[in-house]
């Protein structure tokens, strides 16, 4: 089983609260993604076993949503909002700056697997633009100086 014991018990605990087991698909995918950093066919199969829902129904749901990528990404997933409110305050130049600092293009992962850079749709930080999300954390009202500091801190933690 690719899912850890902790993940399995967490999924079961969540699943038990729903009136129908199919509702546990998204919570299960979320738990699996948090453990593995990706969710592929092998994981769909494991979830199917744990919650007792056919494989195809897991796959059907998982492939609709953006948060369950099939392939692992860098240790730090940098998601930059490129929608209108952030764009008005320079989101495109923020993406360019990150590309330059990390030496990769949008959509790529650094060679040391530390950073993956992508741009995404609105993350609900419109009044604190521009912003980026690194794994779970939001970084808002970004400036070049702040971005430098954040990247340095993340590299230091690695």
């Amino acid at each position: 089983m690719i899912l850890s014991e902790a993940s399995v018990s967490k999924i079961k605990e969540k699943a038990a609260r729903y009136p129908r087991k199919k509702s546990a698909i998204l919570p299960a995918l979320t738990v699996a993604y948090r453990q593995l950093g990706y969710v592929d066919e092998e994981v769909y199969r494991a979830i199917s076993q744990v919650i007792g829902v056919p494989y195809v129904e897991i796959a059907e749901a998982a492939t609709f949503y953006t948060m369950f990528p099939k392939k692992p990404r860098g240790r730090y997933l940098i998601q930059v909002c490129h929608n209108i409110s952030c764009a008005l305050l320079g989101a495109d130049s923020l993406i360019g700056y990150l590309e330059e600092k990390l030496g990769i293009q949008k959509g790529e992962t650094t060679e040391d697997d530390l950073f993956t850079l992508i741009s995404v749709e609105c993350l609900g930080s419109c009044s604190t633009a521009p912003m980026m999300q690194v794994n779970d954390d939001f970084y808002e009202n970004l400036t070049r100086e702040k971005v430098d500091g954040i990247l340095q801190e993340l590299k230091g933690k690695a």
Binding site: F64, S93, C122, S125, T128, A129
Partner: protein
């Protein structure tokens, strides 16, 4: 985990102005804790309801308040609750819609992060009004901080007996589930949200049947926005008449506006309905004017799906009717301001990219049409515009509008149609000269 959104609020105004209730304590760093929430009068409304109000009395009070949905549609909340069939033998469900993702909108997040118990209390009261014993909050998956805050608040509410079995000895049981999404704007549309809770792809459903009759698991279900539900405890505490005394004749109460874009002081501001848009943008207490003393070019008043306003239109009240009168909408209350250096084609490309990406793909006009629109608009933006492009865009828009199951199709085209109406010459210039009339180049600091 970084919990606190650094967004500016007008909590200081709310602290000394009793009309402003949603933001009264949002700058108190402990407001998310149940002890602080209770010390500020929290769960008093829920106790009042449990202490002897009938579901009908609760619904009547909310009807009397005139509260309308704060997620974008503006449908009267109490009336919506009233659509749940009284004689249905099926269980009923409440889903709080916390899938906040309309570009420009960042208000529900603040309520969840900073005042999560206010949301839970509102959900509980609404649940009781419709006879629901299991309520959900659907939070977009990216809001890890909100999810943690809401789960923590839910655990506290259970521990203190505000949720669970036999609440306050009333015999009423109420359970709560925090359900998280997977990254899809469409799940903020209520029928797509219900599919998503059921473990399906987040695609919208044909109505009727409406969710109030056949929603989650084909049972009567009410879906309400976070801000709508957070308003409910205040309506119960102070009375529907009090709430109805705020705002305008038809748009009652207060509303949180998310102000973003080219203003000096972007932020979340709670004001009475009908507040003047121009004041919101220019008053030092709110937007404090346009960045870099530039000239205002346009405003999107209610989130990325609402038609643009031009500078001569902004002396208008921020309420459902006033904005409708001038051809736009209040939407979610997300005011996006842009100044003279903003190319309209560039702006529309940003918007249509979003809607093309977020179209669930169920209805052909929206799935194909948003793709065509993005392709054409991108071509124009990159200097490949052709004569007749504007007419083609207009034509595609007309063939999406009103031809889809859910409002995403309409949402995608209404800003485009208004942008062509207001700035047709700029589109033509872009096509003829293969470049922007104004050079858009926004650098972050």
């Amino acid at each position: 985990m970084t919990f606190y959104s650094p967004v500016i609020t007008n909590a200081a105004d709310a602290a000394k102005d009793d009309r402003l209730h949603l933001f009264k304590y949002v700058e108190d760093p402990d407001q998310y804790k149940i002890a602080t929430y209770e010390a500020h009068g929290g769960y008093k409304a829920w106790k009042k309801v449990m202490g002897g109000m009938t579901p009908q009395q609760v619904t009547d009070e909310v009807k009397k308040s005139g509260l309308r949905g704060r997620g974008g549609a503006g449908f009267p909340t109490g009336m919506k609750w009233g659509f749940v069939p009284k004689d249905s033998p099926k269980p009923r469900y409440l889903c709080c819609n916390a899938d906040e993702s309309e570009p420009g909108t960042c208000k529900d997040r603040v309520l969840m992060e900073r005042d999560p118990h206010g949301v839970i209390e509102g959900m509980a009261i609404a649940s009781y009004a419709i006879g629901c014993h299991l309520m959900f909050i659907y939070i977009r998956g990216e809001f890890g901080h909100c999810i943690e805050r809401m789960e923590q608040a839910m655990d506290e509410a259970y521990a203190k007996g505000h949720l669970g079995k036999n609440i306050y000895g009333s015999g009423y049981d109420l359970e709560m589930i925090v359900h998280t999404g997977g990254g899809a704007y469409i799940c903020g549309e209520e029928t797509a949200l219900l599919n998503s809770v059921e473990g399906e792809r987040g695609m919208s459903r044909i109505r009727p049947p409406f969710p109030a009759v056949e929603g989650l698991y084909a049972c009567p279900t009410i879906v309400n926005n976070v801000e709508s539900l957070a308003s409910v405890p205040h309506i119960i505490n102070h009375g529907g008449d009090w709430y109805a005394s705020l705002g305008t004749e038809k748009s009652k109460g207060t509303k949180i506006f998310s102000l973003s874009g080219h203003v000096r002081k972007p932020g979340n501001y709670e004001v009475e309905m009908g507040f003047n848009l121009k004041k919101m943008i220019y008053d030092p207490a709110y937007g404090n004017g346009i960045l870099g003393d530039k000239k205002l070019k346009g405003v999107i008043p209610g989130g990325a799906s609402t038609p643009f306003l031009t500078p001569d239109q902004i002396d208008v009240g921020l309420d459902y009717e006033s904005l409708q009168t001038i051809g736009s909408m209040l939407g979610s209350g997300a005011i996006i301001v842009f100044h003279e250096d903003t190319c309209i084609v560039w702006t529309i490309l940003k918007l249509i990219h979003f809607f093309r990406h977020e179209s669930c793909g169920k209805c052909t006009p929206c799935r194909e049409g948003t793709g065509w629109l993005e392709q054409i608009i991108k071509r124009i933006e990159e200097g490949g515009g052709q004569p007749g492009d504007v007419e083609k865009i207009d034509d595609i828009c007309g063939n999406i509008l009103g031809r889809t199951i859910c409002p995403l199709g309409d949402a995608a085209v209404m800003p485009i149609q208004s942008a062509i109406k207001h700035w047709r010459e700029e589109w033509q210039y872009h096509i003829e000269h293969k470049e922007c009339l104004v050079k858009t180049k926004f650098e972050f600091k």
